[in-house]
C-alpha cells in the first residue's frame, strides 16, 4: 500500500479523534440542564408548528406547558389524544375538550353564484376582496382563490371542482389558521357534534339574495319554525344555532328538508 494513503488516513483520523475528545469534554462541561418532560412532550405533539396554541411552534408550547403557561389540552390539532398524553407526562388529570373542525359557511359554487365582473389582479382572496369585495355576484360568498388552502398546515383543504374549498374532516385539526386567512370571515370552527350547519353568510333579504345566488339564505325563517323550539334564532337575517340547542341530528331533519334554497346541512361533514 502506498505510503501517501496510510499517512493521510492516519492524520485525518488523529485530527478527528482529537476533536471528538474535545467535543465530548465540552458537552459534559457546558451542559445545559433541560426539563426531561419538555422532550417527552415534544415527542407526543404533532410537530406541525401550526401556532394554533398561541406559542411559537411546538417546542414553545412544550416549554410553556411545563411552565404552566398553557393548559394540557392547549394543543388544538392534537385533540383529546395528545391532551391525555401530555397530562400523563405532567402527572395531572386530563380535561376533556370537544374536537373542532373548520366549516365553510357558503354554498355558492361558480354555477350557482357566477362572476359578474372580470378580476385581473393578484391571485389571492384577500387581494380580490380589497377591490369592492371581488368579482363574484355575492360579495359575502367564497371567492375561491384558496387563501385557506395556503394557510392550512395539515393539507386538509383543497379547492374542489366547483370552485369552493373542500375540508377533509379527518385531516382538519381545528387549528384555525384558515379562519384567520379568510378575508370574508366565512370559515368558522364548529365542534364536531354540531347538528346543523348553515352554508350561507349573506345578511341581505329575499330579493337581493335571489339576484346573486341560487342557494343563498333568503331569511324566510321556515327552519326556525320546523326545528326544536328555541334551537334556532334569526340573527342578522340568518338562522343561528343557539348554544344550548339539542345535539341530536334527527331532530333537525325536518328543518333541513323545509329549507327552500337548500342552504342548511345536517352535521359538520
Amino acid at each position: 500500500m502506498p505510503l501517501e494513503i496510510i499517512l493521510s488516513t492516519s492524520v485525518v483520523g488523529a485530527v478527528g479523534l482529537c476533536f471528538g475528545i474535545i467535543l465530548s469534554i465540552a458537552a459534559k462541561k457546558f451542559k445545559v440542564e433541560t426539563d426531561p418532560r419538555v422532550d417527552k412532550i415534544l415527542e407526543v405533539l404533532p410537530n406541525a408548528n401550526c401556532g394554533a396554541c398561541g406559542a411559537p411552534g411546538c417546542e414553545g408550547f412544550a416549554k410553556g406547558v411545563v411552565e404552566g403557561k398553557y393548559p394540557c389540552h392547549g394543543c388544538i390539532p392534537g385533540g383529546q389524544d395528545v391532551a391525555e398524553k401530555v397530562s400523563k407526562i405532567l402527572g395531572v388529570k386530563a380535561e376533556t375538550s370537544v374536537k373542532q373542525i373548520a366549516v365553510l359557511m357558503c354554498g355558492g359554487t361558480r354555477q350557482l353564484s357566477p362572476d359578474i365582473a372580470d378580476y385581473d389582479g393578484v391571485n389571492t382572496c384577500r387581494s380580490a376582496h380589497l377591490i369592492l369585495g371581488g368579482s363574484k355576484a355575492c360579495v359575502y360568498g367564497c371567492i375561491g382563490f384558496g387563501d385557506c388552502v395556503e394557510a392550512c398546515p395539515f393539507d386538509a383543504i383543497h379547492i374542489g371542482k366547483q370552485g369552493l374549498p373542500q375540508i377533509d374532516g379527518q385531516k382538519c385539526t381545528g387549528c384555525g389558521n384558515c379562519v384567520q386567512a379568510c378575508p370574508k370571515n366565512i370559515l368558522k370552527l364548529y365542534p364536531v357534534d354540531t347538528p346543523l350547519i348553515l352554508a350561507c353568510s349573506n345578511p341581505e333579504k329575499l330579493k337581493e339574495v335571489k339576484a346573486v345566488c341560487k342557494v343563498g339564505c333568503i331569511a324566510c325563517s321556515l327552519c326556525v319554525k320546523k326545528a326544536p323550539p328555541q334551537a334556532l334564532k334569526m340573527e342578522n337575517n340568518l338562522p343561528r344555532l343557539q348554544p344550548d340547542a339539542p345535539k341530536d341530528i334527527k331532530l333537525y331533519e325536518e328543518a333541513v328538508n323545509s329549507c327552500p334554497s337548500k342552504c342548511l346541512k345536517l352535521g359538520v361533514d
Partner: protein
C-alpha cells in the same frame, strides 16, 4: 416662474383635452337616487329616517357616528323608498337610502337658513357648521373636514394650501371649478384660513392649467395673505404629502399627519362646499364630476350625490363601444366598478369609462431588479422589495420596509417593465399588516 415639485413621480398621458373645454353643466334630476350612508373615512352614518318618509333637499338622512365620521343629507326632495344594501363605489356592499325623486318641488329643507353675519363667525362656529353640513375631503380620500380643520391640542397650522393640482389624468372637474367660480372658492379659502388659524394661504395649481393660472394670478394680485404657486405637471403632485414637500420643503414624518409640519391641505371642491354652507347654509349634496373616456359626450357635470352612473352615462349620450371598465375617480387611483348600477358619492371626482379594446391585460412577469419603481416612488420606498416579501408572505419584513407609508399612487405599477402588480401587492401587504395588528400579534 419657478415650478415647484418633489423628487420621483411619473408623467402619464394627460388626456385632459377630452373634457377641459366643456364648462360645468347641471344634470337634470334623475328618477331615483341611492344616497350612501357611508361616504367618508371612518364609521358609517346611522340612518335617522325610515321607509316612506318625505324628505326635502338637504334633510338629514344619517347622523355621524363617532369622532371620525360625517353627516349625510338628502340631495333631492322626494319619498324614501327603502333603506337597504347596494353596491357602493368604494366600500363594496353597504347601506344606502333609496329616494324616489319629486321633480316638481325641488326645494331646500325649510330648516336651512343662511347665518346673518357670515363674516363675523368665530373659527369654532365655522368648524361646527362644516361638521353639521357633512363636508368631507372632495379630492377622493373623503376624510371628514371638521377633523382636519381643528388641530389636535398642542399643534397649530402655519400654512393653508388650496390643492388645485388635479394630477390624475383625465380629470378636469377642479380645473373647471377654478376657472368658472374663483370667487366662490376664494371665499371658501378665507373661511378655511380663519377656521384653522393659519397665517398664510397658498393656492397651488399645476402648470398644465394655463387658463386657471391666468385667472388666479389676476384674482390674487391684491390679496396679501394668499399667494399663487405653480406646480410642475407630474403625478402624484396633488398627493397631500408630496404637495407639502414641493411647496414648503417639509417632510411629513412616517405615520404622521400634515399637522405635524403645520400645513393644512384642502381640495378646491371642499373650499367651494365650505363657502356654500357658511354663506347659504347648504349642506354637501352636490359635486362636480368629470365624465370622460369612452362616452359619447365628455362633460363636467354638477351632480346630486346618489345619482346612478347608468343615468349619468345615458345623459352623456351612452357608451362609445362596448364598456370594458368603469372607474370612479382617476385612472391611477380610482376604483373600477362591478356594475353600472352604482351611485356617485361625495368623493367621486370623475367617472372614467374604457371600452373593451382599451382595457389592457398584460402578462405579469418576474422582477428584473431594474429599480425603475424605486426612482419613481414619491415616498422613497422600495416597491419591488416590498412586493416580493408580500408575495412570499413575509409580512414582518414588508412592515420593516415601511410598507405602511405607501400612498398607493400606482406609479410603480405604471413604470414596471415586467408589468408586475406592485401597488396591488403592497396594498395586500398593508391589509395583512393591519389585520395582524388587529389580532394583537
Amino acid at each position: 416662474m419657478k415650478w415647484f415639485t418633489f423628487p420621483g413621480g411619473i408623467h402619464p398621458p394627460e388626456k385632459k383635452e377630452l373634457s377641459e373645454k366643456s364648462s360645468i353643466e347641471i344634470m337634470p334630476l334623475p328618477d331615483q337616487v341611492i344616497i350612501p350612508l357611508h361616504q367618508h373615512m371612518g364609521a358609517p352614518a346611522k340612518p335617522v329616517v325610515k321607509k316612506g318618509d318625505l324628505v326635502k333637499r338637504g334633510t338629514l338622512l344619517g347622523e355621524a357616528q363617532g369622532f371620525i365620521s360625517s353627516n349625510v343629507h338628502s340631495s333631492v326632495a322626494g319619498k324614501i323608498k327603502d333603506i337597504t344594501y347596494f353596491d357602493h363605489s368604494k366600500f363594496g356592499r353597504s347601506m344606502g337610502v333609496i329616494v324616489d325623486v319629486d321633480k316638481e318641488n325641488d326645494d331646500w329643507d325649510p330648516q336651512i337658513k343662511p347665518v346673518e353675519n357670515p363674516d363675523s363667525l368665530t373659527p369654532e362656529q365655522i368648524i361646527e357648521m362644516v361638521k353639521n353640513a357633512g363636508i368631507v375631503g372632495m379630492g377622493g380620500a373623503t376624510f371628514p373636514t371638521q377633523v382636519k380643520l381643528a388641530p389636535p391640542p398642542g399643534k397649530h397650522y402655519e400654512y393653508f394650501i388650496l390643492n388645485g393640482a388635479e394630477c390624475e389624468p383625465f380629470l378636469t372637474a377642479d380645473q373647471r371649478l377654478l376657472i368658472e367660480q374663483p370667487e366662490r372658492i376664494f371665499k371658501g379659502c378665507q373661511l378655511i384660513l380663519k377656521a384653522c388659524k393659519a397665517q398664510k394661504g397658498i393656492v397651488a395649481i399645476e402648470s398644465n392649467k394655463p387658463e386657471a393660472i391666468k385667472i388666479w394670478t389676476k384674482f390674487l394680485e391684491n390679496q396679501n395673505n394668499f399667494q399663487l404657486k405653480v406646480l410642475k405637471t407630474k403625478y402624484p403632485q396633488g398627493a397631500e404629502k408630496q404637495l407639502i414637500y414641493a411647496l414648503l420643503n417639509r417632510e411629513v414624518p412616517s405615520g404622521g399627519l400634515p399637522v405635524e409640519v403645520h400645513a393644512l391641505v384642502q381640495n378646491v371642491g371642499t373650499a367651494a362646499a365650505i363657502h356654500d354652507v357658511v354663506y347659504h347654509g347648504y349642506p354637501l349634496v352636490e359635486r362636480i364630476t368629470t365624465v370622460t373616456g369612452a362616452v359619447k359626450q365628455r362633460k363636467n357635470l354638477k351632480l346630486r350625490i346618489g345619482t346612478l352612473v347608468s343615468d349619468i352615462i345615458k345623459y352623456c349620450g351612452g357608451y362609445l363601444g362596448e364598456p370594458g371598465k368603469i372607474i370612479f375617480g382617476g385612472p391611477m387611483m380610482g376604483d373600477s366598478q362591478r356594475t353600472d348600477y352604482t351611485p356617485i358619492s361625495k368623493g367621486t371626482s370623475g367617472i372614467v369609462v374604457q371600452n373593451k379594446q382599451q382595457v389592457s391585460r398584460k402578462q405579469h412577469l418576474n422582477c428584473i431588479r431594474c429599480g425603475k419603481c424605486v426612482t419613481v416612488c414619491p415616498m422613497n420606498l422600495l416597491p419591488f422589495e416590498i412586493a416580493i416579501r408580500v408575495e412570499n408572505d413575509y409580512i414582518d419584513h414588508a412592515q420593516s420596509l415601511n410598507a405602511m407609508d405607501c400612498i398607493e399612487c400606482g406609479s410603480c405599477s405604471y413604470v414596471c417593465p415586467s408589468n408586475r402588480e406592485l401597488v396591488q401587492l403592497i396594498r395586500l401587504g398593508k391589509n395583512k399588516i393591519t389585520a395582524k395588528r388587529k389580532r394583537g400579534a
